[in-house]
Amino acid sequence: MSGAARIGGLRNITLTLIWVWLLLFVLAPTLMVVVASLLERGESQFVIAEFTIDNFLRLFDPLYFQVFWNSIYLALVTTLICLLLGYPFAWMISRASPRLRPLLLVLVIIPFWTSSLVRTYAMVIILKANGLLNASLLWLGVTDKPLMLLFTEFAVIVGLVYSLLPFMILPLYAAMEKLDLRLLEAARDLGAGRVALFTRVVFPLTLPGVIAGCMLVFLPALGMFYIPDLLGGAKILLLGNLIKDQFLAARDWPFGSAISVLLLIFMALFMLLLVWARRRRADSGEMGL
């Protein structure tokens, strides 16, 4: 067997493995959820094989609209904060000396070494009434009685930002590292001050990183259930919690599936919108002068 043929064979095996993986663990479960969302709930089994669209009709309830809106709102706020924190952070890393850069990147990635659930419990310890943060604030005399931090929207946002920030920083860093610094010199040479430098050159050129980072933060933020559970208490109900509750507490698999399908459709629309927007940007000519 020639070398080229062997490489071709290896490639086929790899591709087959990827396809099998995607079929078994992505397509099949998704199809099962879609099918379950169209079936009826059973008393003894989880689902009964009878077609219905009741599960979707039930979603048209102001209560669920509220949950839906809460989820999007929190995910948006989380994404915005991650972007505002992550952008300068990623910029600093990309401009650090080449010797320091790997170290800084490792610091960003280190949290992944422990489970996100464990780290969320750590946040509880920091934020609770007699926790680390309150103790420090009391000691510094900033406040004279412990602040109610845990089980608030604030705590949920802190938890989400903390967990998802690396997903914003890494794609931003990748985009910034590729940025040709000579373009910044050219822009200065043509008369761009600091503001114009950022708005006309740096931001547009790092936009792919911004979009990738926002997607990697926004989409998981919609579905994360243990962070609102642990840090928000029972007060803040999000889509992720709702789905989890339907599956684990209410044992209503068809309705849980219907909510999942709704979330799936929403995410797909969101991504299509981004793809469409980018294509339009690429085609458009003048910058609207």
Binding site: R182, L183, D189, L190, G191, P204, G285, E286, L289
Partner: protein, 373 residues
């Protein structure tokens, strides 16, 4: 040439301990085409970046029409640069790239469209306004970079090896176009290159730079014909350098010993016993066979015996590499003409080398400069 527009005095730049530019003085006249020529690392690009404001000088001054440039940040200097890498904005169309500067300076609407269209027409790219840089060839990108700079009507246009990425033919064409453009726009050009041919053919004056200093600042013709140092002689054009010693001095000249013959030369700027280099361009040398020399007895006293080592046919000339009896090797170019229509030399043939009286240039001895160029 017109009055001084840009004046550089005692300009130095050091990066840490590394002195890149060492007390450089240049006055550039309004409308002049000045070239900074030198090997890589000689400081020519640093000098350009200092004028553009992309680096801050360690010492010295840069004044443009009596205004101190050093205190003005790059974005407000009336100076624009054509970068070696072109540095076109990849996310903007050709139109937006060219409009970048004027738009920042508040030009809008029809005025902006007209200015950009004019600049693009100047470089012959009017139909390419809606393309992205990635959709253009190297030569077209080069033109966009030029249009993007000249649209701002800079007092001085800085060009950092703008042609080095182009292939030979395109480079030749762009040399002519750039020169015509400069004449048409009347803008002062400061052009950086390491290509001596480019420097000679395009410039009003050439500054030959070496190790952060200017070795010679002169017209291309004087740079080539009367180099001020061994470095300039070797860097610009093909050069033969022969070691020689000053034997004595008499009325109106020096007596020189070179390659075993004695020579009377004009310039009296050396002292007896000085070692010097005699510089001769390959086209200055005449190569004679023994029979030819017999027919020119007046040359006999000045002829150096030699042996042909290599014959290189070049089309319009024949280049010879000739080993002199003293051991030095020189290059000589012979042209086909009515005197010598065949130029029939063979390897190992015995020949004699002469040059027209007073065509030699005497240069101060430079230990790095021995041998043929």
């Amino acid at each position: 040439m017109g009055e001084t527009l840009l004046s550089i005095q005692g300009l130095s730049k050091a990066f840490g301990d590394c002195r890149v530019l060492d007390a450089v003085d240049i006055d550039v006249a309004s409308g002049e085409f000045l070239t900074l020529l030198g090997p890589s690392g000689c400081g020519k690009t640093t000098l350009l970046r200092l004028i553009a404001g992309l680096e801050a000088p360690s010492a010295g001054s840069i004044t443009l029409a009596d205004e101190d440039l050093v205190r003005i940040p790059a974005e407000r200097r009336p100076v624009n640069t054509v970068f070696q890498s072109y540095a076109l904005f990849p996310h903007l169309t050709v139109f937006d790239n060219v409009a970048f500067g004027p738009h920042l300076h508040g030009v809008r609407g029809d005025e902006l469209r007209q200015a950009v269209a004019e600049a693009l027409a100047t470089v012959g790219l009017a139909e390419f306004a809606n393309r992205k840089p990635a959709q253009l060839s190297g030569g077209q990108q080069q033109r966009v970079a030029i249009a993007r700079a000249v649209v701002n009507k800079p007092r001085v246009l800085l060009l950092d090896e703008p042609l080095s990425a182009l292939d030979y033919k395109l480079r030749k064409r762009m040399q002519v176009e750039l020169k015509q453009l400069q004449r048409r726009l009347g803008i002062t050009f400061i052009f950086v290159t390491h290509d001596q041919e480019e420097a000679l053919s395009m410039s009003d004056r050439v500054a030959v730079m070496n190790e952060g200093r200017i070795e010679q600042l002169d017209t291309p013709r004087r740079i080539y014909e009367e180099p001020a140092s061994v470095f300039v002689a070797r860097f610009v054009g093909e050069t033969n350098l022969l070691p020689a010693t000053v034997k004595g001095r008499d009325e109106g000249g020096l007596l020189l010993e070179v390659e075993g013959i004695e020579l009377k030369v004009r310039p009296p700027r050396f002292d007896p016993d000085d070692k010097v280099h005699v510089m001769l361009r390959p086209e200055d040398l005449d190569v004679w066979s023994r029979e030819e020399l017999e027919r020119h007895p007046e040359l006999k006293a000045r002829a150096i015996a030699a042996r042909v080592e290599e014959v290189i046919y070049k089309g319009s000339t024949v280049d010879l590499l000739v080993r002199l009896s003293g051991g030095d090797r020189v290059a000589a170019s012979a042209f086909f003409d009515e005197e010598d229509p065949t130029l029939d030399y063979k390897r190992d043939e015995e020949v004699f080398v002469t040059w027209p009286k007073d065509w030699e240039v005497l240069l101060p001895w430079d230990s790095g400069g021995a041998g043929a160029g």
